[in-house]
Symmetry: C2
Subunit: 173 residues, 2 copies
Amino acid sequence: MTARYHTLPRLLAAAMAALLSGTACCTESPVPAAPNGITLPENYRDWRVIASSHRVDNNTLRVILGNDTAIEAARSGSTNPWPDGSILGKLVWKDASHAQWEQAVVPGAFVHAEFMLKDSRKYPATGGWGYARWKGMDQEPYGADAAFVQECHGCHMPMKDNDFVFTRPAAIP
Amino acid sequence: MTARYHTLPRLLAAAMAALLSGTACCTESPVPAAPNGITLPENYRDWRVIASSHRVDNNTLRVILGNDTAIEAARSGSTNPWPDGSILGKLVWKDASHAQWEQAVVPGAFVHAEFMLKDSRKYPATGGWGYARWKGMDQEPYGADAAFVQECHGCHMPMKDNDFVFTRPAAIP
């Protein structure tokens, strides 16, 4: 009996450690974190739509999604600034032509998924936004080191008056 | 006392009738049904993304959404044919230019939301699909009478080998 009393807590501790280390759980994402430590948001494929766009300079189609906090903000018009906890996700594809409807540009190869996470206390140096991007269907993190966010934020600077966000929520009845 | 016994059932009957007629309930959709009787799918704004497109012939941006059945089919590659119960929804906006990024085409005025409902027993004459469209932010039903679906289905005929559907699910990791 003495042995059992000692073994149970040890087993529990081992199970806890395994869970905390993230190696034991089948639901753990296999996608590496971005160089600044941001991890791929869970279930972003299931997020709701905020807008879409087509960049004709680099020939890419985009759909902009939001987590629940972002969707609530978008629908209530509270996006300048976006509230802390908002995450915007952008899915980007190379242009392709529709085989049966040539005048339609449709999604071709997947380019990347990129995210902006609003946390004004965590990311004061970049306007309150944390940036991260995962490339291609293999979801390779973008950036050689944590300084990659300077490139992201630099590109978003012209949108300072719109809380550094290019996307304006589309009208949806 | 006699009066009360007679009044209560009558009140209940009136309440039931009001509920059944749909005029008493605050949650009833105020959007009129399409001329073929199809009603606006509930909560379509919360559906998940299947694809996007940009039609350069009529200058419109589109996002294609699906209900749960359609999303499951899209993600498992079971879309030819789409299973009964699938609903595809398309949100359409006029092109607009991004004020701070001219090379980006972004959603302008909302044009319409259109839907394809798969029910092979209910809609055998139109490839198993029921069609409906609601125009603008006012969500005015499209079509003078039920024959409007001939126009929809006629346009979709070139896609017969793809279950009459133009949209091919976009790659999303």
